[in-house]
Amino acid sequence: MKILVAVKRVIDYNVKIRVKPDHSDVDLSNVKMALNPFCEIAVEEAVRLKEAGVASEVVVASIGPQAVQEQLRTALALGADRAIHVDAPAALDALVIAKLLQAVVAAERPGLVLLGKQAIDSDNNQTGQMLAALMGVPQGTFASQLSVEGDALRVTREIDGGLETLELTLPAVITADLRLNEPRYAKLPDIMKAKKKPLDRWTPEELEVVVTAHQRLLKVEPPAERQGGIKVSSVSELVERLRNDAKVIS
């Protein structure tokens, strides 16, 4: 079985973001970029499925400008076999990303598509679900456990307040949650070897996908700062205020 993993280049999760002074967007100049953490978990899961003999090939794809090749290389160093770079502008709508991925899927015919559940920049949590719908296949979102049993896939999902286990037919789309696995670190020799692995470049035109805008980003602001409150002098004053002023306890 071939696995396709879609990954996104995002700001490194350790970086504190800054909104541009003109409020047009977040300032991404000179900040450290990285593989989206959830995407990294998806790559790790695919590589583990290959190591377990379930998958025969792991293909990793990313959509964006030239720079996304850095993250593709990271994925190759982590164990993916080859990479596909769809050369397109950054920050496309998730729907367009899903359409581009659908076209990649049509060309590659993977048995399973793995994605991260959301990107830590746009926080959309949509692409996997949209791709599954466009492909007409089932989805296992927010996966915390995954096993392939014959023609079926058993996936445990993190749902509000608990876990849910589903059985899906293949092909299917899975989106990775935090607890699916703990990704390995790239080894330096593998980083060098990754350079020699195949990396194909496609364009939206070649994939016959029209890139359109469905949303317009009007403004980006820092979150409102809270105003500080008052200091209370004792526990009894605190309880009294919570009860009578704030009315949050009875």
Partner: protein, 377 residues
Amino acid sequence: MNFTFNEDDIAFQDAAHRVCADVLKTHAARYDETREFCQESLRALGELGFWSMNLPSEYGGVDISSIGMSLAVEEIAYHCAATCSSLTAHFLATDSVLIGATEAQRQALLPLCASGEKLGAFALTEPGAGSNPAEMRTRAVRTADGWHLTGTKHYITNGAFADFLVVYAKTDPDQGHRGISAFLVDRHTPGISFSSPEKTLGLRGSHIYEIDFDCVLPDDALMGEEGAGFATAMEVLDRGRVEVAAMSVGIARAAYDASIAWSKERIIAGKPLGRHQGIQWMLAEMHAQLEAARLVTYKAADARDSGQRFSLESAVAKLVASEAAAKVTDAAVQVHGGYGYISDLPVERYYRDARITRIFEGTSEIQKIIIGRAITA
């Protein structure tokens, strides 16, 4: 002039960042507090191939550029300077083998050092011969049983934790520095005794030892040619100084980043600390010093890759970067005020860890001698 890194360099920096931010960072404060040897972090780096950064691929290395290596070293020091010190000490040992050993010795030892299986120590300094190795007293005498090694080395990083030591000793005391040879010494050779680790100001997770030798080494323990030890050591130190510079940059950057974050978070007199001009001046100086240190370090790394002699560049980088680290970490404590003085926050550790960079692998004064001689020759 091109101030951008190539994709390999960025990939190495990235790889280092990931493991350091996750693993090294979690142990760094504990190592400092308990003086536990940084074994866990060092091993984690070894498994991922970081012990091989200074070696070419024929000996198990990854053919990384010196710039890429500097970026990785900086990243390691940023998160745990003690681990960085132990790793760069390992590089001094393996650089010695790479530069001075026979091909057979290199083939036998270096791949194991690259893969993280054998840790090295570099034993040059003696109680009576620090800045001037030519004054060393350690002797190696050829006997019927092999080389009889006697003497004392001190401040030897990794010491008792190392699997092998590169020991510099006089084989011909009448020849001055030309009478110095290097030996590959198995740590378990009978007749070697280690002190307990020294109680150091900083880098407490990276142990340094005094080591007494009264042992017999096999004939093939002689590393490369007799009398070539001093030249090897000097070349090794040229390389090592670039790494100390990168390490200094890493510590300085950690202190700088902590200070910037603090200056935004901490509210004094109704506004963030960083909005007060007095603090801004301190931060601005820190920024400028860090930037200067970074640039001379990358320049020295670039010179190291050029294949030309780079003693001058590496001395400048070491001098500028280590002095910058001292100033930046000192300022970081000041910016933090009382919080900078207590160990709840890492800045006091950065301050202590930075101090040795002005001393080891040639004090700042030695660097000035190297620079002074080069520019007046």
